[in-house]
């Protein structure tokens, strides 16, 4: 009869492992890293100021919308260099943004119209997370 407790040992191990078992990693739930293209957290890029100016080309005057955008590096998992992809516009390196701010320009804008651009973090030839920044021409 003393053997009976030993029979429960494997069962206890099973229950213990099951109880402590960590489930599989949910890939869909992994979206907290700003360098992940599926990032779904606080905005990485936010507009800190908007201004409208004029410029002339061939004697014709146009309106230009300037957005000053802040890159929230505090959301980064660690300090790192990075690039900003302006969705078709030239990439901007973090080395050219000592204060982690960049300018986004919209040319030939109309007053009262809102303009948006998608910005992404970019490293190693691949886009990471990003969001749109918008401003209204005045």
């Amino acid at each position: 009869m003393r053997t009976i407790p030993y029979l429960f040992f494997p069962l206890l191990v099973m229950v213990g492992i099951t109880g402590c078992a960590k489930d599989e990693l949910d890939v869909a739930g992994l979206n907290t890293n700003p360098f992940d293209a599926d990032y779904d957290g606080p905005a990485i890029f936010t507009v800190i100021s908007t201004s409208t100016s004029t410029y002339t080309v061939d004697g014709i005057e146009y309106q230009r919308l300037n957005l000053r955008v802040k890159v929230h590096t505090e959301y980064f998992p660690r300090a790192t260099t990075y690039l900003v992809d302006q969705d078709g516009a030239p990439l901007i390196a973090s080395s050219s943004m000592p204060d982690n701010e960049l300018s986004v320009q919209f040319l030939n804008v109309d007053q009262g119209t809102t303009y948006c651009r998608d910005l992404y973090l970019y490293n190693g030839g691949v886009r990471g997370g990003g969001n749109s920044v918008c401003g209204t021409a005045e």
Partner: protein, 239 residues
């Protein structure tokens, strides 16, 4: 009370008879050499390796545990030491007992050894699977840590599209293997316990030594202080 006159008569007459005739020595070289007994001239039960007897033909009935009774006549020559060599054959009951005992022990050994080995193997298998399961869990924890500190969108994509799904699959496989091995071990342990209990109740064969019963008839056993009659009876207490 009826024994005393006979005892007195034998004690009185034997030395006179012995003195009246020449004696010879008989050395008994009997296999087995350590525990055989014999009845001399159908009267005296003895357990010694050498006897001095009067010249002439004497009857011996040799016996040893597990052996057959061998009846034989030996001629003792006066003033000479003669070697008498005899190998007592094993009794048929003992041979049958040995066969049954061997069968019983083999059966019990098999009934206990196989499930025990299966249980031990199951425990080993479970241990291997626990290690494997823990390793895969550690891999997934490393994947999570890697995701949390990674700043390379390309490697994050690889991590999410290939590495983590593969490790998730490994974890499911390891968990299935672990549960299988634990179940196997539990069943094997149960069977082991059951068979140990059951085999403990199996009746062990006993030797019914009929030759001993035959041999232990009523005999006179001489000693230095006289002698006594020996009556043997065998009661199989095992049943």
């Amino acid at each position: 009370m009826t024994i005393r006159p006979l005892h007195f008569l034998v004690t009185l007459v034997m030395p006179l008879v012995a003195a009246a005739q020449n004696t010879g020595t008989l050395r008994l070289l009997v296999d087995p050499g350590h525990n055989f007994e014999f009845v001399l001239d159908k009267q005296y039960r003895m357990q010694q390796r050498e006897v001095k007897l009067g010249e002439g033909l004497h009857h011996f009935a040799f016996w040893a545990p597990e052996r057959m009774i061998v009846d034989t006549n030996v001629f003792v020559i006066a003033d000479r030491t003669t070697d008498f060599v005899l190998k007592l054959p094993y009794s048929p009951e003992y041979m049958q007992y040995r066969q049954e005992l061997a069968k019983y022990e083999t059966k019990r050994r098999v009934a206990r050894t196989i499930p025990t080995v299966a249980t031990v193997a199951g425990l080993f298998w479970t241990g291997v699977n626990v290690v494997k399961y823990q390793k895969v869990r550690q891999d997934l924890e490393k994947d999570q840590e890697n995701y949390d500190i990674n700043v390379d969108p390309g490697s994050i994509r690889t991590l999410k599209d290939q590495t983590i799904p593969q490790h998730n699959e490994d974890l499911r496989s390891a968990r299935t293997g672990l549960y299988t091995s634990i179940s196997f071990t539990a069943v094997a342990a149960g069977v082991t316990y059951f068979l140990y209990r059951r085999s403990a109740r199996w009746e062990r064969p006993t030797l019914n030594d009929k030759q001993k019963v035959l041999f232990e008839g009523l005999t006179w056993v001489p000693t230095r202080n006289g002698g006594f009659f020996h009556a043997g009876i065998t009661i199989p207490l095992a049943r």
